[in-house]
Symmetry: C2
Subunit: 190 residues, 2 copies
DNA sequence: TAGGCAAGCAAGCAGTTGCTTGGTAGCGTA
DNA sequence: TACGCTACCAAGCAACTGCTTGCTTGCCTA
C-alpha cells in the first residue's frame, strides 16, 4: 500500500474518533510515527486530507447506489437494497461515514467542500424518488409526507455509525433486517 | 434577565451553530458586545458555560419525562407522550439539544462531564422499559430487539434537531404525528 | 455622600495550531 | 558513480487559543 494511502487511513481514523478540528496534524503524524512537517510532503493541507477521504468514499458509495437504481427491481426491493447498502457502508467504511456525519456541517461552510451539499442533494433525490415510486406502485402508504419519511430514514440509517461496532454481536445485516422490519411494518402488534 | 443568563444564551447559540471547540471565548464575547476577558467575571471557564447549559436543560427535560412515567397512562400512551415531549424539547430548546447531540461525545471524555453518561444511561433505561412494557402489555410486537428499537427511536428523534426549524411549515406536533405514525404502523400499505 | 458591587476594559502571557523552509538519508537506475 | 526520487527530519514562525491581572466605570443604597 502506498504511503499516501496509509496516511489517509490513519488520518481518517483520528478524524472519525475525535472530529476534524480536534485532530491536529501532530496527532496524525504521531500515529504514523513521523514528524508533523513530514505530512506536508504528501499533502497540501489538513483540509486536502479530509477532502480526499470524503470524495473517494462518496464516489464508491454512489456507484453502488446507482447500480441498484439502474436495476429493474420493484420500488420496494430497491428501497430495501439501498437501506442494506447503507448499513453495509457503515460496516465497511466506519471512519468515512463518521466523518461525514460529524464534520460535514462544519466543512460544508468552505467553498472547496461544496461537493458535500451536492451529494446531499443527490442523496435526497434518490430517497424521495424511491419513496414516491413506492407510493405510486401502491406498496407504500398514500398519506406519507415524503420529505419527512426521507429525513427519518436518512437520519436513522447514518446515525447508526455512532453505536454500530463491526465485529460485534450484531452484523450489519442483522441491523438492516430489524430496521427494515420496523420501518415497513411498524412496531405495533398486528 | 440577569446578565449571566443572557450570556449563557448567547454562548449556547454559538456552541450549537459551530460546535463547542470551534467556538472561541472571543466569539462569545464579540456576540455579547464585550471583551473576551470580561466573560471571566461571570464564568470560571468555557467548559463551565457548557456544563451549566447542559445540566440545567437536562434537569428540566427529565423532570418532564418523570411526570409522564409517573402517570397511570398505558404503555403505548406513555411512549407517545415521551416522543412528543422530545420533539417539543427540540422546538423549544434547539441550541441545548444541538450541543448535546454534537458535542457530548467529546465532552464526555472529561471527568466533570460524567453526568452526560449518567443521563444517557437514564435515558436508555427509560426507553427500553417503555418498549418492554409495551411488549408485555401486548400492544407492541413480541419479536422486537428492544435495544435496537431504543437506538432507532433515540437517534431519529434527537437527530431531527439538525433539520427541524422552529417557526417553519412543520410544527413539532406535525413532526411527532408523522414519526409516531411511521414508527407504530410502518410505511407499508396495509 | 460614601461605600460596595456588578460589569467591563486594556494588555498580555503561555501554550497550541497549521504550515514553511532548507536540508538529508536511502534506494533504484542509467 | 552520478543522478533523481521518495520519504523524512529539525527548527521555527505567525496566528490563534483559553485565561489572568490590575484597573475603571456607573449604579444602588445606607
Amino acid at each position: 500500500m502506498p504511503r499516501r494511502t496509509e496516511l489517509l487511513g490513519i488520518a481518517a481514523e483520528l478524524f472519525a474518533e475525535k472530529g476534524f478540528t480536534n485532530t491536529t496534524v501532530r496527532d496524525i503524524a504521531d500515529a504514523a510515527g513521523i514528524l508533523s512537517g513530514s505530512l506536508y510532503h504528501h499533502f497540501d493541507s489538513k483540509e486536502s486530507m479530509v477532502e480526499e477521504i470524503l470524495t473517494s468514499f462518496q464516489a464508491r458509495l454512489f456507484e453502488a447506489y446507482d447500480e441498484v437504481l439502474a436495476s429493474d427491481d420493484d420500488p420496494r426491493t430497491k428501497l430495501e437494497r439501498v437501506v442494506r447498502l447503507s448499513f453495509e457502508a457503515i460496516d465497511q467504511h466506519r471512519a468515512e461515514v463518521a466523518i461525514y456525519q460529524n464534520d460535514s456541517s462544519y466543512l460544508g461552510g468552505f467553498e472547496r467542500f461544496g461537493f458535500l451539499a451536492e451529494r446531499n442533494a443527490q442523496m435526497r433525490t434518490m430517497w424521495t424518488d424511491l419513496v414516491r415510486e413506492g407510493v405510486a406502485a401502491g406498496v407504500l402508504r398514500q398519506d406519507l409526507d415524503v420529505e419527512l419519511v426521507y429525513r427519518f430514514i436518512r437520519d436513522t440509517v447514518w446515525v447508526a455509525v455512532r453505536w454500530y461496532r463491526p465485529g460485534g454481536d450484531l452484523t450489519h445485516t442483522d441491523v438492516a433486517d430489524q430496521y427494515l422490519s420496523i420501518l415497513l411494518e411498524g412496531i405495533s402488534r398486528a
